[in-house]
Symmetry: C2
Subunit: 361 residues, 2 copies
């Protein structure tokens, strides 16, 4: 088999050894005479996997007992609604930092449930080329929480600092850059991430949430949508996505084997540098619309002189074995998603292809 160079924005590339392990273990899991898919979520075999996934995440990030780790279904999109349902008590306000499409979707769900405020918005004519500076945040000290999206897949921007929000809990959608580097969980009341970009397959959201926030959630909402329901049942209130949790466990083991998040960060920064250097190195032809301080290490977006050239680039790249390079339909241009599992070799091959393409023009 020859692997293509996968730059998909999510679901995205997974580490090859993790896929090979899933293949080996698909029909029979650990000598149990059945697939993991066939194991009860309340049996010892699955339970061990479930608990290992939680323990590994605690270890890799450094998450203390004051936080709960939850494995929920519905992706980040359900979290947009769930966090507001739980934490935006009637009459209360919450602050939203707008940096792109996903943060706006989170805001929209909150509007149906309470009175959220826009505490920052760096859009110009509907386009985001940077995240806000600290001095641009107009925060309400009485807010129930501050919500942010740490990385913006579509516009290719990323926060490179933790905003100061005082004593208000900071909630972060980290779907597209969760575990790209070490981070200080204590700065956040809650972080959450759809698994399908950096840590596993689709169909799972990982939620890390401070226990006092879980406890303070509304009790008059559906039981299945309350965080305390899932916390009290170790994410086994109802049948979880057992396969996705198994895959996350395996990805986390792989990350640990690579040297943990510090090693992951080093590789990710190196990959991003190679690509941005290639773009900046020929600024007459390639153009990254994102301001330097806000450039994403996960989703690198850039333009070519004309849309015709962009179309040709994507077409020829596809033929040459590069997948997923077309920019999001709302942004246009080119996008290379280089999450944790995108190999350095793929980035090197892309840069080489870019140079050859440039010459051919």
């Amino acid at each position: 088999m020859s692997r293509v160079h996968n730059f998909n924005a999510g679901p995205a590339a997974l580490p090859l050894p993790v896929l090979e392990r899933a293949q080996r273990e698909m029909v029979e899991f650990e000598g149990s005479g059945m697939s993991l898919l066939e194991h009860s979520h309340r049996g010892k075999v699955y339970e061990a996997v479930h608990n290992q996934a939680i323990a590994l995440l605690r270890e890799l990030v450094g998450i203390g007992d004051e936080y709960e780790i939850l494995f929920l279904q519905g992706g980040a999109s359900l979290q947009f609604a769930m966090l507001a349902m739980n934490l935006l008590h009637p009459g209360k306000s919450a602050d939203y930092l707008l940096t792109g499409v996903w943060s706006k979707k989170a805001l929209s769900e909150a509007k149906l449930l309470g009175k959220p405020r826009v505490a920052a918005d760096t859009a110009k004519d509907g386009v985001y080329t940077r995240v806000p500076r600290q001095d641009e945040l107009s925060l309400d000290p009485e807010a129930a929480y501050v919500h942010m999206t740490t990385n913006n897949t579509i516009f290719g921007t990323q926060w490179h600092y933790d905003p100061e929000v005082g004593s208000v809990p900071l909630l972060a959608d980290m779907s597209s850059d969760f575990l790209w580097k070490p981070f200080d969980i204590k700065r956040y009341g809650m972080v959450y991430a759809g698994a399908q970009k950096n840590i596993g397959p689709s169909g799972l959201a990982v939620v890390v949430m401070r226990k006092d926030l879980i406890a303070a959630g509304r009790k008059d909402i559906p039981v299945i949508l309350r965080y305390d329901t899932h916390a009290e049942n170790q994410s086994l209130y109802n049948t979880p996505n057992t396969f996705a949790i198994y895959m996350v466990r395996n990805v986390l083991e792989h990350v640990k084997g690579m040297g943990g998040l510090a090693a992951v960060e080093k590789t990710n920064r190196a990959k991003a540098k190679v690509l941005y250097d290639a773009i900046d190195g020929d600024a007459d032809f390639w153009r990254c619309p994102v301001e330097k301080d806000s450039r994403s290490t996960m989703n690198v977006v850039w333009r070519l002189p004309t849309e015709e050239l962009e179309e040709r680039f994507v077409k020829e790249a596809t033929k040459a074995g590069f997948v997923g390079l077309k920019g999001h339909r709302s942004a246009g241009g080119i996008r290379a998603s280089i999450y944790n599992a995108a190999p350095e070799e793929s980035v090197a091959a892309l840069v080489e292809f870019m140079a050859a393409f440039r010459k051919s023009c």
Copy 2:
């Protein structure tokens, strides 16, 4: 590898050829140079799988264009809340037919959202040994809907008739007996099922819903929890559980290859008959607490003369390679879940084991 006899209540046994196919295709999917897990949910490769799953379900059940087929996350438990959020408009009532734990959970969620009524309840001292007869249903012709659970995993009961509910939409949780036989979708406004019993792995709910009911849903609830959101986006509003949908597609293909739902029903009835005959054939020792008309073809529950004997039975069965026979903690006794994918050979082996155990007592 030697396969155990898997009687798990869910997640449950899957057809071996389906697992073997998943194994073959895990690392590279259809010559695409990547795993299905790494494919974009908006790409052509995944899209084909997604649409095949829908088309196969339409074909196998005979579902017309007046129904939408949705693949949602959160399992049946989220549907308990979602259906009430969408269809129980303020001030309206809905009728719930109580036949066990799951129907009660569905009712509990509705209580937080509107004014549901109990239209039938066959419990005696908290235990269910049968489903209600038609003449026991006290239905409200003004109800927003009637909700039922077609099969009750814990108490081992199953509806063997479609209740008459007049012009009120009938909503059925079919999680544990979906596709066990052909059924007339036109009798239902909505049916839904967690995939992890009869049709796939965990982390997916299949929803079949009449389009007029979808359109009549509330618009003032979170977007992600509205059925029309998912219907308008072919279940791709947010990233779905692509692996589970792929597995469901493969299970449905397997079912089609076996001869469709009529063939599945024949096998299921044969398996259930073998097991109930063994129980009834030695009524001094084994005892099925469920009335004959309400006995489940999917979850067969029975008791032994003492709890000590039950414990010994489970222990010795486990040693002999039978998995999942311990009854649910709230019901006690023995339970064998014999969903579509439980092989006839496993049921034959169990009956043989039961006879040997009986002799040893």
